[in-house]
Amino acid sequence: MITMSNFLWALTAIILAPAMGALISGIDRKLTAWFQGRVGPPVYQPFLDTIKLLSKEKNIVNSRQMICVLVYLLSSMAAVFLFFLGSDLLLIFFVLTIGAVSFIAGAMSVPSPYSQVGAQRELMQVLTYEPLLLLTFVGFFLITGSFNISYILTWEEPLLFSMPLIYIALGFALTIKLRKSPFDISASHHGHQEIVKGSLTEYSGPQLAMVEIAHWYEIILILGVFALFWSTSVTAMLIFLSITYLAEILIDNLVARSTWRWMIAHVWPVGLGLIIINYILILGM
């Protein structure tokens, strides 16, 4: 049910999420630097980057780009809002789809070879992670009998124990969604230069900043989805999330970028296989 406190909580989340997301990506960069034996930028670096980008001159190829990037930002904001409202997981999934689609449409709207290649690869990424994400949500439903987040949160034992394999599959999906190595195929997130940043090639200044902010919202949303796996106590949840994200950063630094062919050929069978086995375990119990 939507209550006033729920609503306020969701509003707070909308305001705090980008700050949290920025901090998390700052920590990510610092840790990455540490892994590579560098000093690295300060933790608040993402804030500096974004404010700088916002203060730069707008420079776009066509007006559709601006609409697309705005829809992308709004959709990830809406997804975070709905998540903290305790809404329906499927609805959040579809709202995320709006963002993904408009991000791709924005990249495709420009006659630029780099942006086109990025868009095509992004399409393949969407193709790969969407079923996994949807099936993870169905997994929640199979155990709790509801798609409703506020209901799932009331589940008494950590869901990780009943769906460990789905957790791994979701890890794949979210690595792809966050465009982290080995799946930073369409537009790398760190200072790499995969085909001059693929689907982000044609954005500059404030538009690029908006993409970045949308990305922060996505980080928070994704951590939120992971939090559903261990929602019994706040401390445990935080530890669980830290471990999950650390593992993500570690993988990001350990592995090289794959191709989209490799991605589909491996993530689908492995991810779907894990999910199906987990379904059988759930239904068999």
Binding site: A33, Q36, P41, D49, E57, N59, K197, E202
Partner: protein, 152 residues
């Protein structure tokens, strides 16, 4: 009101100083300067600790690092790349060739330094310059970039 806007300007200046992204264009250098420039990104010099990222795309970048002599063929490329950067932007020319044409100055195909084509803000001398001086030049450029608010 002016206090607020001052504060605002201050924040923007701080952010700019903390996050200058660079794009590097080789206008036909012997690769000496390029290697030294890239060396700045390695863990030894770690340019990223200043927030500098090698963006690889003029649309994302704030600082243009030019190396090598500018000739008739690539002057258009240099102009186009410079045009595609959103302002405010600064240009750093690295090494003797980019500064003045270097030993190739009098070649039939060489125009001279990068400043013949685009406005250059900082010149880093050397053939090739040491990574330390390149970093120094980049940070000088950052100071210019940070104050460059009116252009917005």
């Amino acid at each position: 009101m002016s206090l607020l806007s001052d504060c605002f300007k201050n924040i923007i200046a701080k952010s700019r100083a903390g996050s200058p992204w660079m794009v590097h264009l080789d206008c036909g250098s012997c690769n000496g300067c390029d290697i030294e420039t890239w060396a700045c990104l390695t863990p030894v010099y770690d340019l990223e600790r200043f927030g500098i990222i090698n963006a690889g795309n003029p649309k994302h970048a704030d600082i243009l690092l030019v190396t090598g002599t500018v000739n008739h063929r690539n002057r258009y490329v240099l102009e186009n790349i410079y045009d595609q950067m959103s302002s405010p932007k600064v240009v750093v020319s690295i090494g003797s060739c980019a500064n003045s044409g270097g030993i190739f100055k009098d070649c039939y195909n060489v125009l001279g330094g990068a400043d013949k084509v685009i406005p250059v803000d900082i010149y880093v001398p050397g053939c090739p310059p040491k990574p330390e001086s390149i970093i120094d030049g980049a940070l000088e450029a950052v100071q210019k970039f940070k104050l460059n608010q009116e252009e917005k």
